[in-house]
Each structure stands twice: as structure tokens, then as C-alpha cells.
């Protein structure tokens, strides 16, 4: 065990994967000598050489397209997109190609690529350095989508992603890259996909969150606890495949749900969670589902603190839920 920040845990996960398997390699912008703009790949080019930690030209199309080609041939590329906001030039490659290769070839050509990208707000990054675009990928059949909220999960989910036979979108909550730290197992450490983590047990209501919103949800739960309200916080970790059983089970216990994410509300991932509850936990629900999310505006600069969900907004929603029904 070593105490690491979240971004250090990502770095160790990459290092471990590359030590385990010479077929693992990294490609992206500024990941080599510069060590990544967030230092996630720091030291890796030194250890593994410029042929396994590849600085590419400025083209996300090229990064993901060539990663796919490498994977088809049998390597295990991990592509870095510098900010999730810049993933769109690769969107065609991800949605049309990466997600569909195995399917459309009748299983002849699996396509084992991990795409890493830091996501989310809270760093004063404005419209183009703050987005949370997970819903686009969750809606795209053929992709797995994973978001850690702790250093241990960051390393453990990353190693699972590298060994998973399917394409994995691995989104990292950059806002807590350094503000969160914790014990991380050394060496090979895997956290399975499809298993949510109960970050805090509770009985009065369920708060569902992932990534950077998990600490915020916990903060809200803490505040509610001061008023004797027992909030359960469920960290989803893997959005696809989703641990639907855990989601339903929590609401079967508590009867109330508050869903939290940074992305805009309309058609966000929270909509799927709410739909799931309306379908599968209908008889357990005691109150309308609450969503605490970014608003349906582009991500702002000066007003990011107004836009982003915070503990106070989660608390308000929780109390509204408790008053209702």
C-alpha cells in the first residue's frame, strides 16, 4: 500500500500495466517528455522509451484511429485525450469504429483500446476545459465507460480496463486529481467493472454519484447526518456496465433517490438512473426522484460555482425528497 493522489494512482496504474505487458503502449499529445499536462504520464517515457510512450501530432482523429489499428493488430494501446472536451475530433472513430468493430466483424476483430481523458469542472477551465461528456459514450452500444473517484479505484479500474477485451472509455475527475489521496495497493490491483461501491451506508435516502461528485455527495451526507438524516452514498464507478442491482437495491432500502452529476441535466446520465428507478424500483420509491446536475447551459467560466452541483444543492434536494411523499 502506498498513499497516493488520484493522478499519481493513474500514473502507477499505467506503469504497472506497461511493466506487465510489453504490448501496452501509450499515445497522445504532450504525454512524453512533458509527462502530460496533468503529469499523469510523468516518468513513463523515461522508463519505457519513446516507442511505447508516443507523442503524437495534434489530431485526436489520428490518436484514436491509429490506436484502433494497433489494437486490431494485437497491441494494447492506451490513448490519452488531453481534455475530454477535445474528444470530439475522435468522436467518429470512437462511435463508428471503436464501438462497432467487434460487432460488425462478427467477432473477428475485437478492438481493445483504452481511451483516457480527464473530465469535469472546478478548475476554472471554462467551456472547453470542464465538460463531462460521459452520456454520449454511455448511449453508444459497444463501449464500456468507467469513472473512478478514489486513488485505489483509479488504479484498480485502469488495470481492469487494460486487461478487458472490450473498448473502455476511462474518464478521470481532474478536479480531484490532487485534492484526494488515499492508500493504493502496490503491484497488480484490479477493481471489477459493473460493481458499484457503497461509499457511505445510510437508510433514509440514496445519493448516486460518480467521479468528482462522490466527495461532494459525501460532504452533503455529512451535513445531513448532523440533522440525524442518514444518507447512503453510492459511487457507481462503472457506468457501462452499470450495477443496476446495486442502484435498485439501495432505493429498495431507502425509498428516496438523489442523483448527482456535473453534466447538463437534459438527457444526462442521471436520466438513465431515474428511468431505471421509474421502471425497476417504482414500488419502492416514496418520493419523486431528484436530480442535482449541471444546468442546461454550456459550462461557464466566471460562474462555474453556480453551475456545478455542490453539497448545499445536494442537501436541498435531499431535504425536498424527504419532505415529499
Amino acid at each position: 500500500m502506498t498513499e497516493l493522489t488520484l493522478v499519481q494512482a493513474v500514473n502507477r496504474g499505467l506503469q504497472e500495466a506497461m511493466r506487465q505487458d510489453p504490448d501496452v503502449l501509450l499515445l497522445g499529445e504532450d504525454i512524453g517528455v512533458n509527462g502530460g499536462v496533468f503529469r499523469a504520464t510523468e516518468g513513463l517515457q523515461k522508463e519505457f522509451g519513446a516507442e511505447r510512450v508516443i507523442d503524437t501530432p495534434l489530431s485526436e482523429t489520428g490518436i484514436v484511429g491509429s490506436a484502433i489499428g494497433m489494437a486490431l493488430y494485437g497491441l494494447k494501446p492506451i490513448a490519452e485525450i488531453q481534455f475530454q472536451d477535445f474528444i470530439y475530433p475522435a468522436f467518429d472513430q470512437i462511435v463508428s469504429e471503436l464501438a462497432k468493430f467487434r460487432y460488425r466483424s462478427g467477432g473477428q476483430y475485437p478492438c481493445h483500446v483504452v481511451v483516457r481523458a480527464p473530465y469535469g469542472g472546478g478548475i476554472k477551465g471554462g467551456l472547453y476545459h470542464s465538460q463531462s461528456t460521459e452520456a454520449y459514450f454511455c448511449h453508444t452500444a459497444g463501449l464500456k465507460v468507467v469513472i473512478p473517484s478514489t486513488p485505489a479505484d483509479a488504479k484498480g479500474l485502469l488495470l481492469t480496463a487494460v486487461h478487458d477485451p472490450d473498448p473502455v472509455m476511462f474518464f478521470e475527475p481532474k478536479r480531484i486529481y490532487r485534492s484526494v489521496s488515499g492508500e493504493v495497493p502496490d503491484g497488480d490491483h484490479r477493481v471489477p467493472f459493473g460493481e458499484a461501491r457503497v461509499a457511505r451506508e445510510g437508510t433514509d435516502l440514496s445519493i448516486f454519484a460518480y467521479g468528482a461528485m462522490v466527495p461532494t455527495a459525501l460532504e452533503a451526507a455529512e451535513a445531513l447526518a448532523r440533522d440525524q438524516i442518514s444518507a447512503e452514498v453510492v459511487d457507481l464507478r462503472s457506468l457501462v456496465p452499470l450495477d443496476e442491482r446495486a442502484v435498485v437495491a439501495s432505493v429498495e432500502k431507502t425509498g428516496r433517490a438523489v442523483i448527482v452529476h456535473e453534466a447538463a441535466r437534459f438527457c444526462g446520465f442521471g436520466a438513465e438512473l431515474a428511468a431505471l428507478l421509474a421502471e425497476r424500483a417504482f414500488y419502492s420509491l416514496k418520493a419523486p426522484v431528484q436530480r442535482v446536475t449541471g444546468y442546461d447551459t454550456p459550462f461557464p467560466y466566471a460562474l462555474e460555482n453556480v453551475y456545478l452541483p455542490n453539497a448545499a444543492r445536494i442537501e436541498l434536494a435531499a431535504r425536498a425528497s424527504l419532505r415529499a411523499g
Binding site: 489499428g69 489494437a71 460488425r104 442491482r245
Partner: protein, 361 residues
């Protein structure tokens, strides 16, 4: 090297270029080209009869495809577009497997997931085709980067059309290939049309081949109706590739003699005269003449070649049409390596509805 972009290779070859194809190989080539033409003719009919759903003919591009395929090794990887049936055949894809795919039956290697012409033949290193134009180009570059790590002596080849030179992946792919000096052959079949858009409106670049200069490697224009010239150009490019000298862009100038696909009516946008003019340089006729001139073919043999192709086609078709349709439950296979709980549920849900519920309106 950049100067090569302006060079047109002719069938007479160049100093230092590999020797031309032997008469025997040319005879082989002719047989493949006839087979491809026969498949085209037959499939246009099959589509009209509703026996296959769609077809994109390659007529006019047989020499370019067979010539390129002749220059490749089995270990090379092919990244095709939807029109490269000729390449698939030469590499050993069976006629049956081709027709299974066109039908989308239970033995279709892509399991009925794709429209006709969207083949994938793993055994032939013929990678899965998709419809979006140009996307395979960056894959060919990535696979070539992988070969640099552990595939010495191999190369990748990307096939695409004149229209695809406008795609994002053309730009990204050629640029990456230049920067990383990948063993990649970019093989553009300039058939003068992107559906209804003529080549001249696709780009103002005087040739497509010279676009390689923007990425720091050579480009070559070749007469795509000349199977020999094409083969030599690709051989040369392949030699450079495996020698670590980097990529080459080849523009094979051909003409799309048929419609873009069975959904297309080319009379809306081009004249019969233009097509007739192109037909005068039909690659099959050119090669036939060459073989006749060399005393390697006569009309009687030619008839036999065509007859054999037609029988092979009919036999394969008959077999393929007997194969069962794909299983409804296979809809859920190959989304991932194994079914997620959600997909399992959906599969059960779908089975409960039953295929009897029939289609939407």
C-alpha cells in the same frame, strides 16, 4: 522524393522498378478480373430480384484491385473500403463466403450485422469494412505502427476512393504515417466520382497523388486500368515500406463504369458519352488484348474463362441461398466479448416477444 509525385508510371516501367508480371501471372490476373466482373453483373440482378439488399459494383476497377492484391504478401494487412471485392478474392476469400455476406445468412462471417459489401475476412488479413468514408486510413497507419514493433517485413495497405481524400482520416492518417514513417501503402482508386461529385469538384489539387507532399513522402500516379503497372507501383511502395523508408501514396486512375451502388442512378449526373469513352479503356478489354497479342489467350479460351466464372458464381449462390437465416438471438452477440447483464435481459425480452411479432410497418 517529393518529385515522384509528378511522375506517371506507365506500363513500360521505369529504371529500377521491379520486373513486370509474367504472362502466366497476367493470365491469372485476367481470371480474377473476369470473376469480379461476373459477380458484379450477377449481383446487380440479384439486387433487382430482391435476393440481396444492396450492391456496390467495382466494374472498371478490376485491374487496380487485382494488380494491388498481386503485390501484397499474405502477412500484409488490408484495410479496405466497401468496393474492394476484387482484393478480397485474390487474397483467398471464397466466393461462398462473399455471397454469404451479401445475403447476410447464418454462415456470413460478419453474422448478418452489416450491409452487403461490408466484408471482414480475418484469415485473409482483410479487415472489417465500415461505411463511413476514410476511417480505415488511420487504422492502416496504427496497424503499421504495431508492425514496426513486432511485424518486421510486413506492410499495411489502405484502400479508398477519390472522395475519401477529403476525409478527416485521410489527413490524420497520412500525417501520422509521415511523422512515424510507417510501412503503409495508401492506395487511392480515383474512379473520378464520389457518388455524383466529379473528381474536379472534390479538390483543386492537380493530382491526388501529390497530396502526399504535404506529409513529406512520395506520391505516385498510376494507370489503374493497367494491372501490371499497378502491381509494380504497389510492389515498389511495399519494398520501401518494409525497408523502413516510410509510406507511399498511390493514385490509381480508373473510372467507375457502373452506378455508385444499386441505390444510385448515374444518369442524373453524367452523360452516357463520358461513360462510353471510359469503356474504351475497360481494364478487362485491355488485358484481354494484351494476352491475345502475346498469344496467351484466344476467343475460345476466353469464353471458357467467362463460363467458369459464371458457373462458380451460380454454384456458390445456390449453396449460399440454402443456408439458414441468422438466429434472432445473435443480435446480442459481439457487442462485447460476453453479454452484460443488461444485454442478457434484453435478449430474453426479445425472445419473449418472439420473431413472430414481425417488423414495424
Amino acid at each position: 522524393m517529393v518529385e515522384a509525385a509528378r511522375t506517371t508510371l506507365t506500363s513500360s516501367g521505369e529504371a529500377g522498378s521491379p520486373a513486370g508480371l509474367s504472362v502466366e501471372r497476367l493470365n491469372d490476373a485476367y481470371r480474377w478480373m473476369v470473376l469480379a466482373r461476373v459477380i458484379d453483373e450477377r449481383c446487380l440482378t440479384l439486387q433487382r430480384q430482391g435476393r440481396i439488399g444492396f450492391y456496390a459494383p467495382l466494374s472498371g476497377q478490376e485491374a487496380a484491385q487485382v494488380g494491388a492484391a498481386f503485390a501484397l504478401q499474405a502477412d500484409d494487412w488490408v484495410f479496405p473500403a466497401y468496393r474492394e471485392l476484387g482484393v478480397a478474392l485474390v487474397r483467398g476469400a471464397s466466393l461462398r463466403s462473399v455471397i454469404d455476406q451479401l445475403i447476410g445468412n447464418a454462415e456470413d462471417l460478419v453474422r448478418g450485422t452489416q450491409m452487403p459489401n461490408h466484408f471482414a475476412f480475418r484469415a485473409q488479413n482483410y479487415v472489417s469494412v465500415s461505411s463511413p468514408i476514410g476511417t480505415q486510413i488511420t487504422h492502416a497507419v496504427g496497424a503499421a505502427m504495431a508492425m514496426q514493433r513486432r511485424g518486421a517485413g510486413r506492410a499495411t495497405i489502405a484502400f479508398f476512393g477519390d472522395g475519401a481524400t477529403s476525409s478527416n482520416d485521410f489527413h490524420a492518417g497520412l500525417n501520422f504515417a509521415g511523422v512515424f514513417r510507417t510501412p503503409t501503402i495508401f492506395f487511392c482508386q480515383n474512379n473520378q466520382w464520389a457518388i455524383s461529385l466529379p473528381r474536379a469538384q472534390q479538390t483543386r489539387s492537380p493530382t491526388l497523388a501529390q497530396k502526399s507532399e504535404a506529409y513529406g513522402f512520395p506520391g505516385i500516379v498510376v494507370d489503374g486500368n493497367d494491372v501490371d503497372a499497378v502491381c509494380r507501383a504497389v510492389l515498389e511502395a511495399r519494398t520501401r515500406a518494409v525497408a523502413g523508408e516510410g509510406p507511399t501514396l498511390i493514385e490509381a486512375q480508373v473510372y467507375r463504369l457502373g452506378p455508385h451502388s444499386t441505390s444510385d442512378d448515374p444518369h442524373r449526373y453524367r452523360s452516357d458519352e463520358a461513360v462510353a469513352a471510359a469503356r474504351a479503356r475497360d481494364p478487362l478489354q485491355l488485358l484481354k488484348q494484351r494476352l491475345v497479342d502475346a498469344g496467351a489467350l484466344d476467343d475460345a479460351t476466353d469464353q471458357k474463362v467467362w463460363g467458369a466464372a459464371r458457373s462458380a458464381m451460380s454454384a456458390a449462390l445456390e449453396e449460399a441461398e440454402k443456408v439458414a437465416p441468422v438466429e434472432p438471438s445473435s443480435l446480442f452477440d459481439n457487442v462485447f466479448e460476453s453479454l452484460t447483464p443488461r444485454l442478457e435481459e434484453e435478449r430474453s425480452e426479445s425472445a419473449a416477444v418472439g420473431p413472430g411479432a414481425g417488423a414495424g410497418r
